[in-house]
Symmetry: D3
């Protein structure tokens, strides 16, 4: 069995976050899997809100479009609740797994309802929309914010306390499983899982496993419909 080569795209330009995500992805990856991080050359330094999300989507697609590294077998898009997955699917010929949907897919297998704890309250709506369109919104009990920005997640103690408080609200809404609603929370599933008594799903790990699975089964994006390859035409990627 050949190895699985995964490119993980950060949704922002912060190299440290790419590295953190890659660490999370490698911790989840199987023995035959290699993980390469891809940081967009432009876009927001963190994605919080719709403007950032659309900017990020374009930048991530551009990063994939201009990528000239080693061949790869799958793409993991590591922006929780961020846009762009369908565009990436049009662009590359390998499976593309977004961490938002990935976490929800696995969470559905672990309990009757799941919930998401994310960063800023303003991101909750985007996440709900992303889950709905991915086809896995039905069993989502709630999406709740901690009030922390993406770049505040470095403070582990404060993050954990805010996460646990938000998790109680999600559980009260009926969630039996929790989802970490930000790529920057990767690793938190281990520290808070026991305290909560609930399974905690990290989207990065989930996406790595789903990507490995799809590659293992020889499956990739359908070209027969809305995700056909982009129509050839002139496109300019930024004001440059």
């Amino acid at each position: 069995m050949r190895s699985v080569r995964i490119v993980v795209t950060n949704c922002n330009t912060t190299q440290e976050m790419t590295e953190e995500i890659v660490r999370g992805a490698r911790a989840a990856a199987g023995p035959g899997t290699t993980v390469t991080g891809l940081t967009p050359g432009w876009g927001p330094e963190s994605a919080e809100g719709w403007l950032d999300s659309y900017l990020s989507a374009a930048a991530v697609m551009d990063a994939l479009r201009t990528y000239d590294g080693e061949p790869y077998d799958a793409v993991v898009m590591a922006g929780f609740g961020e846009h762009g997955r369908e565009g990436a699917r049009e662009l590359v010929d390998v499976p593309v797994v977004d961490i938002t949907e990935a976490a929800a897919h696995l969470a559905c297998l672990l309990g009757r309802r799941y919930g998401v704890v994310t960063t800023l309250e303003r991101s909750c709506g985007q996440i709900e929309d992303s889950l709905e369109l991915a086809g896995v919104g039905r069993n989502c009990a709630a999406v709740v914010g901690t009030g922390l920005g993406v770049l505040d997640l470095g403070d582990a103690e404060r993050t954990e306390a805010a996460f646990l408080a938000a998790a109680e609200r999600v559980r009260a809404a009926g969630a039996e499983v929790l989802v970490l609603g930000c790529a920057g929370m990767t690793g938190l599933e281990r520290t808070v899982g026991d305290k909560l008594g609930l399974p905690v799903v990290d989207g990065v790990g989930a996406a790595v496993k789903l990507a490995e699975g799809l590659v293992g089964l020889g499956l990739t994006t359908s070209r027969a419909g809305s995700l056909a390859r982009p129509v050839p035409k002139r496109r300019a990627w930024g004001a440059g």
Copy 2:
């Protein structure tokens, strides 16, 4: 009563299409309304599919962000089914009306179910998603493609024939009102309306009217929630 100054953003870089859209917008505008077209400095030459749509969303936001013309009272986003409206709402302090949702809002007032006829079949899914998230998907009976690309719409006869054929499918699905599913179809509502015996709503005109209405009532985007102004941070708009 002061005049209403509307900026209409094209979703692609084709200047001719901007001009056509502006003509359509002006035909719909009230006597006190002025319309200015805004063509993104980058992005796709036409938007067909998700990759184009996300690229377009970023380019349109950049065009609004760097706009330094006359002040304006509202933005009309003229990309049918294209992404970006929430990002534009975060960015500017005046109302933003997307032609997709605008057409649907007015269509709901004219019949129990409406339907959309658009260009390529591959765009139908995006339009359905856009209507759903805008909150007006419930009464949409069908979204149907004509098989024509955006840049094929110049051939009036072929366009009309393809439109009428698609319109029959939409009507058979229960639509009592038709929506033109592409900004480049503006004007077609007059030539096909009588033949079809159905009201035909053009999104550009609908959006102009909704923008005039919101400005007239002194209403603009809520900042209390998901559409707060963007968090200040570093953002790079393209590879330049």
Copy 3:
């Protein structure tokens, strides 16, 4: 551009309320728009609950049917949550806009979720049903009552206090935009908007703007389906 002549129908027999609604409608109307009030000759003195609503629907249709004043270009139906709009659409050949749906259509353009504050709790269900069937229920976060009857709204201070308390509940449910859930609340959008920090949409003003827009675009109700003109037959309008 010719003027737009709007007939605004009150849903009850209280002449003072018609006058108040007409004042609200005129405040919203564009320079070329004239507004005429129409008070049903029979029906309830205020509409609160289903029995009143169905009685009101018949009385408003009768008022439109027997109207013999100046010609008009559109009808605004000023009963929030009340029945009858589809019947009026069958009856007259000009666009008909109900204030319930009108407020919701504009609210959808201003935020991701909206909420409604109305009079009695018992009316909330009717309003939810009305929004759902109009095709704009999806993005409604909550409909909440103030406990005030329609005819209690004269006490401005009490009304404002009750409105603000109810508005907090709606906001907690996720609403980013508020809708005034009673024609008799017209004007309150100015006094409470600032205190709440949310856009507040009045259905009467919203309906006037939508009516102006439809007339300006030359659009009216589809006859090709469920809203065809009434079948000719004997009908008796009341026990007389």
Copy 4:
């Protein structure tokens, strides 16, 4: 066990139809049940479309309000897809069962999906709305018209042929059970049931059985919520 006294309200002013409905109701009624017909003193001679439906709703409520016959234990409202049931529930202290919802409730017990065959195509939308709000729309596969008007149903042969053709469309949509979508079709369930090989539910019979059941269990409309008794106030019932 005391007898159950049911008042069946026709939705139109046609006395012959009341008699036919009463015959159908009596055929379904248990041995201890008496059925009295109630024909509105005003309203449409048949109900086809929304204008008729709202007019009918008011007229039926007026008939119940002014009824001064023998006491009764339940009301059956015999207008398929017509409005008014919630108003009647506010008005009287006994259970009210509408034939639309009644047929659907029983149909749900007989198969995974049911479908409705009604008169004019224009009535289909009203019926769908009525089923949805009654809470039984989920398992409705389709509502299909025969093209026959209510007053055309006297021609038995033509009615049966049109019904069978429409029934095939409903079955193809997944219906395992058929519902007669007009009070005037009562009796047809016997003549077409065998030919179709599907259970056929008549709303009049279904409503009689549900009314008997509710009375037998001592259950009636909840007053704790939206269906409280009407607020005392001045109401005029018609132009008289």
Copy 5:
């Protein structure tokens, strides 16, 4: 009119509970109805959770399959929220009514929204699923647990107190009608109804009335679709 002979199946092996259910069924039955209890020969002693529910479904089907008593006209399945109704419908040629759906069908006729109070919290999800698939989930405001196990219901005082507390939560969620969410609660509708000021529907009584109604109308399960008779084949019913 011939009598109606109903077999009521307990969902568990506890004979005392069968007897209690039969008492409840008889209290609801009309004068011409006879009720026979059927206790499965195997399965769980009470059904709480999914494992019990599926075990119970198989055991109840086996009990019906091997039943060799007097002929009967209808089956009432007395396991609130338990699985199996579609299997029983395939198996027997008479109508099958499950108490879960039965209670909901009648509750929908009594108020705009209903709610369910059941035993353990863990059962709430199963009940929600059961209502949804039966086609009557839309108007269910909430399903709430009392924390009592099925076999704890013998303590009347504790049961009533827990029921009343749970009922308040259901009412706060918008329910206008209450449903007893366990066959073992039969009888409680009389003791708590007055205290709550809401109609209370017991599923056993509701199912008896619906079964009587279907038999009276000569209706039974459709064979034209998913509920056709079981395909002949080898089946072993238990490890024996």
Copy 6:
């Protein structure tokens, strides 16, 4: 990395089918994964319809309950559209993946809409219900039958022809990805995928990959809610 030991449960008593499923599972399994088949000691020889499905659910739970072989890390339940997954989740402490949901989860990652082709038409409803409750029904465009029974699938040519015909119907309904709707179809994804030009997902392979993923991430069923371990009590598993 330790190996993953998967027990695959057949939903029927046909040993040959267990072996075929095990072959399919092994073909999909990663290098460190072992697969053991488990054939219920009782139940139906094939599962077609609800009666079979509930019988199968109980029999599969009994097989897991009495299993005394080697320890295992995950369970794959190989009955497409069959009941029982929640019961198995209550019973065992390792992740349980049902092939129905598994196929849908992966299919959602490969296209905007997916569709299912199964055996008998009568099974379609069960599959729809299973997908809906698993939380992945939203993006299912259609479930279509081939008319072949489970035990007819041995005739490869006939199966393929029937499959291709059904697949066209699914594609016409909007599916961009196909799901094999029967465990006995495993292998068909290779022979028909190219002919169809669509990705074809086999539930057995999908479930193996999801099980490997969950085990790799250390995730298992939530005990905090509806899937808590079964309440201790007397249970008899079959008539024996």
